[in-house]
């Protein structure tokens, strides 16, 4: 039932301790929320899980096998995909092409078959096209498929980035503050989308500041503060946890939905 096991993750940046002994376990098919005030270490932890930063010590197990030291692209083929806080869409491509890049690892065909345009590579390409369009459609985005990605409104860009991550058919999808900068309507769409993906069987780790989104879609929460885990549990339980409330009192967002 446990898809991801985080064990004692510690991260030092020179003299600064960003994470200290973080441990928790993420169950399959659930939306797992990683929350905490600014600077608590959430994005650092996400970067460690997705292989972009090495941990100083500790281990992370995906389905029982350690993923420490794996490069990000290797983790993608092992079933971990992610979006980025600063939105790293491929601006030089259309929305559809972005999603097609997401399909990359599930297909084959390198330089030679591409140069020769074999019938096989044509078939692959058609399939990539079809699947990508399907993913966009399932998220209600197919009317923007041919638009250049960087010309679209912010909220749509976020969704397309998620679509791209979904295209890798991940078992674990990491979302890094997807609600940042969205208006209430867009946030609702986002929440629905996350719930839909969960229902499709994708396990999601959500790093998020917006408590409305967190409360309505997360099945389980882990709260970080100053690099340490200060609470974990269901959203309802965590909400009234005194330590959590204190931690957020200093935060201008407060702990309100």
């Amino acid at each position: 039932m446990s898809l991801l096991q985080v064990e004692g993750i510690t991260k030092h940046f020179g003299g600064l301790t960003a994470l200290s002994g973080i441990s928790f376990s993420v169950d399959e098919g659930k939306v797992f929320g990683l929350i905490g005030p600014n600077g608590a270490g959430k994005t650092t932890l996400l970067n460690i899980i997705s292989g972009f930063i090495p941990a100083t010590s500790g281990d992370i197990l995906l389905k029982g096998k350690s993923i420490m030291g794996c490069h990000p692209h290797v983790l993608a083929s092992r079933g971990i995909s992610r979006t980025f806080q600063n939105g790293h869409l491929f601006g030089n491509m259309t929305a559809l092409e972005n999603v097609m890049v997401g399909c990359h690892i599930r297909f084959r065909g390198e330089f030679l078959s591409a140069a020769l345009q074999t019938r096989w590579s044509h078939r692959q390409e058609r399939e990539i096209y079809r699947q990508s369009l399907e993913i966009l459609s399932s998220m209600g985005l197919h009317s923007w498929a041919q638009e250049p990605a960087d010309s679209l409104p912010f909220g749509l860009q976020r969704l397309i980035e998620i679509a791209r991550g979904v295209a890798t058919k991940p078992e674990l999808l990491l979302l890094d503050e997807p609600a940042a900068g969205l208006n209430p309507g867009e946030k609702e769409l986002l929440t629905e989308e996350i719930a839909r993906l969960r229902n499709l069987g994708i396990t999601i780790i959500l790093v998020e500041h917006d408590m409305g989104v967190v409360m309505s879609v997360c099945d389980y929460l882990v709260v970080l503060n100053y690099g340490q885990k200060i609470a974990e549990g269901t959203p309802e339980a965590v909400q009234i946890d005194p330590e959590v409330v204190t931690a957020y009192l200093g935060d201008e967002n407060g702990f309100h939905a």
Partner: protein
């Protein structure tokens, strides 16, 4: 489809061009444009898609020329076989060099290729027993195809430009494929590309090797055309000229590389003719000033190159 009809027109035009040219001299220039275009296309793939700069591409051109030349002239292999060995061998060398270097961030490849270019040039100059040193390598056999020997400018012209179009088609196919998308994604955001499962370092190395292959092919054709090669044209100056061709044509646009090659090769010829008349020194390296200024001006004002400029003009007329 619009692009293909455009190129079909160009191909037809080029097919009939020799009829219009007054002498073999101009045919020779067209051949050089073709050879430069091949090498420039390779560099364009590297710069536009892997986002890396190579300052040593002349070395790959030279390696293609010398390897094929030596194998055929000194060891008696058939010219086609020599080229069939020279091109992958050069690409392989580029691959080997690229693996450790492209793992590094930033513009280390530019510097490494610079150093490599100089070392290779020095090898051409000093390893006299193999390369003939500064006096060069001669008696390189012509390419043959059945009864056909490519020993006249006219025949070489068609051969070279056929290769150019094949290379262009192949390059286009790559760019519009899954691999090309991966390359474009690396250029856009390497981090996101990695997150999507793309081994960015590996791809960069492969593009580097591919670009070296293009240059080596051009070099091989060059060797079997002139039947004599010497180290002089394979130095830093030529590497810079290739760079200028790509920048002027438009980084990241394969047809731009052909356009840039044409412009720069023609400009070179004109300047080489003109400069000694304007200045009393005869060193013939003056065109380099213009190229330097061209690089600066284009990178600041027209980073998309002439292709961008033409697009702009076409849109304004519409």
């Amino acid at each position: 489809m619009k692009i293909y009809s455009g190129w079909a027109a160009v191909a037809v035009g080029l097919a009939f061009l020799p009829v219009l040219l007054p002498s073999n001299y101009y045919l020779g220039i067209m051949i050089f444009i073709g050879l430069n275009a091949l090498a420039a296309m390779g560099l364009c793939l590297l710069m536009g898609y892997a986002g890396q700069i190579s300052l040593g591409h002349a070395a790959f051109f030279g390696l293609g020329a010398y390897t094929s030349g030596i194998l055929s002239a000194s060891y008696g292999l058939s010219p086609w076989l020599s080229m069939a060995i020279a091109v992958p061998a050069t690409a392989g060398l580029a691959f080997a060099l690229g693996v450790p270097i492209l793992r590094l961030q930033g513009y280390y490849l530019a510097v490494a290729t610079l150093g490599m270019g100089i070392i290779v040039y020095l090898v051409f100059m000093n390893w006299t027993s193999l390369t003939g040193g500064p006096s060069g390598l001669s008696s390189i056999p012509y390419l043959t195809l059945g009864p056909f020997t490519f020993n006249r400018d006219l025949k070489v012209y068609y051969l070279v430009w056929a290769m150019v179009f094949l290379a262009l088609a192949g390059g286009r196919n790559i760019v519009n494929s899954r691999v090309g998308r991966a390359l474009r994604s690396i250029h856009s955001s390497e981090i996101a590309a990695q997150a999507m499962g793309i081994n960015t370092s590996r791809y960069k190395v492969k593009v580097f090797a591919l670009s070296a292959g293009y240059a080596a092919l051009a070099g091989g054709l060059y060797a079997h055309y002139l039947t004599f090669i010497s180290p002089a044209p394979f130095g830093y100056q030529f590497s810079i000229e290739l760079l200028v061709m790509v920048v002027v044509g438009g980084i990241g646009n394969l047809s731009g590389a052909i356009l840039g090659a044409a412009v720069i090769t023609l400009l070179s010829e004109i300047l080489r003719d003109l400069m000694p008349r304007l200045f009393s020194y005869g060193a013939g390296e003056y065109e380099i000033v213009f190229f330097g200024i061209l690089l600066i001006v284009f990178m600041i004002f027209l980073p998309g190159g002439l292709v961008q400029g033409l697009e702009f003009m076409r849109r304004r007329r519409a």
